[in-house]
Each structure stands twice: as structure tokens, then as C-alpha cells.
Symmetry: C2
Subunit: 251 residues, 2 copies
Amino acid sequence: MVGSGRTNGYTPCEQCPLRPLPCLREFTASELEFVKRFKIDELHIDAGVSFLRQDTRSDHLYTVLRGWAFRYKMLDDGRRQILNFALPSDMVGLQGTVMEEMEHSVEALTPLTLCVFPRAKLYELYSQFPTLAFDITWLASREEQLIDEHLVSLGRRTALERTAFLLLALYTRAQELKLGNEGTVQFPFTQQHLADALGMSLVHTNKTLKRLLATKAISWKGRVFEVHDRAALALIAGDDVQRKKTQRPFI
Amino acid sequence: MVGSGRTNGYTPCEQCPLRPLPCLREFTASELEFVKRFKIDELHIDAGVSFLRQDTRSDHLYTVLRGWAFRYKMLDDGRRQILNFALPSDMVGLQGTVMEEMEHSVEALTPLTLCVFPRAKLYELYSQFPTLAFDITWLASREEQLIDEHLVSLGRRTALERTAFLLLALYTRAQELKLGNEGTVQFPFTQQHLADALGMSLVHTNKTLKRLLATKAISWKGRVFEVHDRAALALIAGDDVQRKKTQRPFI
DNA sequence: CGGCGTTTTGACAGGCTTCAAGGGCCGTGG
DNA sequence: CCACGGCCCTTGAAGCCTGTCAAAACGCCG
């Protein structure tokens, strides 16, 4: 019930569509050569499938090549909290590689393409490519930052603020990755997903969203999200996510 | 207004009081020798002082040797969210070393002793001691796990559940570190701290705490916290934190 | 056209915040 | 030795915010 992973079409690292992005650093030749060997497979996951699961051990480490996913935790009675969203270039499953067992699950939100790396070769990476090791630390640290911000939202921001904040953050990340056009991004999630991320009920999420739409700062029809007035949205969110640089600095 | 850092009494790494703890792995001789050189100072911070600050860049990386601290973020209008607590053996300031600027602040909750490591030598660590590099990744990943769990609390747990959960988690961590006696730990924070961690108002925190005390599962007088019925507390929390192993596995 | 998942809306109850004020403890200073 | 001030803990009351329940409208696909 987990995988559904067909392995069709394979993307060689030299032609990785992500590397040219300005928000990612460039590899040296030897790094590229190593990563190419490190990547042992490419997985295609259907939307709606959880490919990593709570209380399970994982032998692999993944990187999102195409599509959206989200990390989440479930309580026994069915309550769900979405921790954050994973977009192309994000790493998932590091925790399973580092700890005994996964403490959360990860589900594909759209058809998803993953690069697969074996846990077993991680030591080789750490010992031979300290710069790549540092990249992993950097990725983990940046993800923690996002979660910190999310935690502030759930703890201290009002429903309207936190909704604006999350939408703005997702929009910004999607734009950095060149998903969508100017002012417009395809958001693949439902209001239920949003509610589970925001820690609110579906009904209240819907009503909050309506208030937000009433400001004309954004629109969200079908699955297309559009920002009309970024400054206004940032004002409601109480903080603009824009300023943050995300390129990894030199160690 | 920041530091107040006197440098009295210095703890050589060979005599580090933390290393013998069963929840920490042992160093090899060469690792120990490197860490000893890596540690360039020891800082003593007064309770109530924020020694790392939001929007600031840090040249140092710290490890808590003695005392309690907490990571937090402030919003412009003064709302505060405590992200998590740092206890002995925890690392703080990695983010400032890895990213451009700190996105959060860290404040001493008690008189605090920190080991100081220079950001500048981090590359040396990564290139010469991959196992230590992996330790850093591991620490970052474990901290993320704690925050994930906290996020679930704020998003999906009731006031009573989340209060029980946080207290149980802090109690468990403190016990692992051999702070306090059987059943008893000295908690150095006020109800206001607890409220800011739980994302609730002070008044409601107080009333929730009262309900929790009424169950007789715990008591908390003065600054002394005591667990009388761990199973009952875990039941209210909805999840027992106990099972989780925290020793770093082999890479 | 019918069915199902998603979005919307309204009504109501209860949880949580805010405002306000009193009490306890402790260190300082008269 | 006692009075005072500051910090923290408690408690009550009022009202908003948010969750729950219920039902209808919408849109997409077979």
C-alpha cells in the first residue's frame, strides 16, 4: 500500500532541471560526479500516497525533483497536523536516516518524482565530501527555520495573520523555484490541507479565507492562487518572508 | 546589554560532566582531542539575558554545559513564542552559523555555562571529522523532531493535552540528563514562560495547570516539579515520550 | 444525469483571551 | 523589625474567537 513506485524516465544529474535555479548553489565537478553515483533511483509517486510513514524505518533519503509533498503527523484519534510542505529541491526522510524511526509521515500532494539515495552511503558522503555534508546540515537547519516560523503562527498569530503568512510563504517559495507565472501559482492542496497546516477547523479556515479574499490582496479560484497586492498581504501576515536569502553561504 | 560574560572557571573537555551520561555517545581519542581545540572559551551568562538575538549574525556556536535556556521569537507588537528549551548537551546558535542571520533569540533561564566554538573552524570539523559533522546533523535533526511534536501540540492538542505533553517531555529530558532526583525536577521557568511556549494566555495556562494538578498526576510547588503518576500524565498527554531513544546511532 | 469530494453558509456552544483585582512571597530599605 | 515594592500566582466576569453540527451549493468525472 505504500509505494506504487514505477521507475520510468530517469533524469541524469547533469541535466537536473533544478541546478540552474539561482536559489541553489552550483556543484563542483567532483561533487556532481559523486551525487550522480549517490543517486540510485528515481521514484514516481501518485498523488495522495504516503511514501514515508510514522514509526517506520527508512533506508533511503529522498530529494523532491518534481511535485509537491507534505510532512505530517497523526494523533491516535485521527487529528492531523501538517508540519510543512516539501517542494522541488527539498530533502525528505533525513530524519529516518538519522534516527531509529520516522516520527512523521510524508505524502505526495501531486504526482511526485523523487531522487533516491541510500542511507548506507551517507558515511561515504560525510567522509569524502564535507561540503555536501554541510549542505545537508544547511538544509536541515533551513527546514527548522521554516517550522519555527510556523510554530509562531500557530502559537501567537491570529487566524487571519497565520493564513496570510502561510499563503505568502508558500507563494514565495514556489516563485523562487519558478513554478507558476508572474503573480500566479498552481496550489495543489485543498482547504482541508490548509486547515490541517494552520491548526484550525475546516469551517473556520474557509471563513478566514473568505475574509482574506475580501481584501482583494489575493484570489484563489480553482487551484490557482494569485497575489494582487503583495505588500497588503505581507501587512496582514505581519511579516514579509521576502527578505530572507535562501542560498547556502560558504562554510 | 547583551553579554555579561565573565570567564571564570574552565572545564576541560576530558572532565566534561556530560560525557559520561548514557544518553550521549563516547568520543574517540582523536575526536576528543579535536573538540578540545575547537572549544575556544567558556561563557557564563546571567539568568534573563538573551545572548543570541534575532536579526543578528553570530560568529560562534554554543553548547550548553550547565543550566537552562530557551529559544524564542518575538513579533513586532510584543507577542512572544517560545520555540523550545535548551538543556545541557544541547547545541544553540547553529542557525546563526549556517544561515546569514539568526531568525530567533536565545535567553538564559538560569545562570548558564556555555562552551564556545568558532564558526570559522567549522569547515575544519566537517573536513577532518565526518563523524562529528554527522553529530551536528543529528543534533539538528533531533531538535527538529522536538519542534515537530510541539507544532502538533499547538495545532491539534487541547490546552490540557498540550500542557501535560510539554511538562512530561521536559521532565523526561531533565531526568535523562540526571538533573533532579527520582520523580522530582527543579523547573526554572514561570507560568508566563509556559504560556509563551504553549501558545496560550497566562490566565488560561494557570487554569489549565490547576486542572492538571487536580488529577494528582503531578505537583508543582515553588519551582519543584514532581511526577506522581507518569502513566496518568502520559494518558492525558495522549502520547508517551518515553519510548524515544535519543542516543545517536552509527552512521 | 448522478455521485462524490470540495467549498460555503448558518446557528450554537464552549474554549480561550482580555480585563481587573486580590493574595503570597521575598528582598530592600527605613 | 516592619513597611514597601516587585514579581508571580490566583480568581472572577464578560465577550470574542473558534470548533462542532448540519445542510446546501458547486464542480468535476464517469
